[in-house]
Point group: C2
Chain length 179, copies 2
């Protein structure tokens, strides 16, 4: 995001922080949700369901923004755990500054594209979860996050796709054989 | 949406149209996706998967906006069928006018709330599809669409929740007995 510097200049409370692999940025039940820009590194957000099972909502490599938007928008306690899969340099800021009145109008309009595109991607994520075979979901994952298979354990990718690690291993075998 | 009139005044191509129950507003494969505001009535959007199974993405009663945002944002052919579950009065408009440069800046910033809130809701939909028991998903559906159970066939609600009509019937029985 090329205009991040502008936004940071607007937000007097924005903070730049270093985190280590394994560190938590927020946890289920926290009262104050934040928005995180990944300057360098890799974060993920996930929930743990009532049976103790983990479900990964998204990964956020360098350049991505990650947050619990439901908690932020509806002033609810945090539901998403956000932690570091690698040592990361993070900028914590208030998402309202993306649309702050001090920004030029053109910049505000430009930033709405970020939200529309994220909405388009989330629509696809819902539709694929409901109606696409796991192999299509995996191919779309590769398309979205081309270098993650080398950076993230297989079991986490399975948890993102909503399948078992065994099913993922079968899919990867099929793809390898077809090349 | 109280400022719809303003937006319609900005968009020279906005059209007001009457549709009958069963009419299609757009179909999978169409080249031009549109944005629909439901002035009165009830629409739904859905896909049909490769096995011929229907999956409902959302319902849009009076006051809602509905569109295939992935197709719109990424200039792709339409994937979502959108049709009328009741006779409906629809305004077809270009979503960019929600953030048109002729709107006052405060209005543009206000409209970004619509996108943030939708993102928060979609985040919840993904997380519930992945990790919540069907009864919680049904209760959340009732919360989002309190009067739809009387207006929509049970099989469609099941299709929205991603469960069988039999499972939905069991859940409704459980809820009825617990009151």
């Amino acid at each position: 995001m090329e205009n991040l510097t502008e936004i940071l200049n607007l937000d007097p409370n924005a903070k730049r922080k270093q985190f280590q692999k394994g560190d938590f940025l927020q946890r289920d039940g926290d009262f104050q949700a934040s928005t995180f820009y990944v300057k360098k590194g890799l974060l993920r957000s996930y929930i743990i369901d009532s049976k103790g099972k983990e479900h990964i909502f998204m990964f956020a490599p360098t350049g991505w923004i990650i947050a619990d938007l439901e908690a932020l928008e509806f002033n609810e306690p945090v539901k998403l755990f956000i932690d570091c899969l690698e040592d990361s340099e993070i900028i914590i800021f208030n998402k309202d500054y993306l649309f702050n009145a001090d920004l030029p109008k053109e910049k505000i309009v430009e930033n709405t594209q970020l939200l529309y595109r994220r909405l388009g991607k989330l629509q696809r994520r819902v539709l694929m979860l409901m109606g696409s075979p796991a192999i299509d979901r995996y191919n779309y994952f590769l398309n979205t996050y081309p270098d993650l298979p080398n950076r993230v354990p297989q079991r986490m990718i399975a948890t993102y796709l909503g399948i078992t690690p065994q099913a993922l291993s079968t899919i990867r075998g099929k793809i390898a054989r077809s090349h």
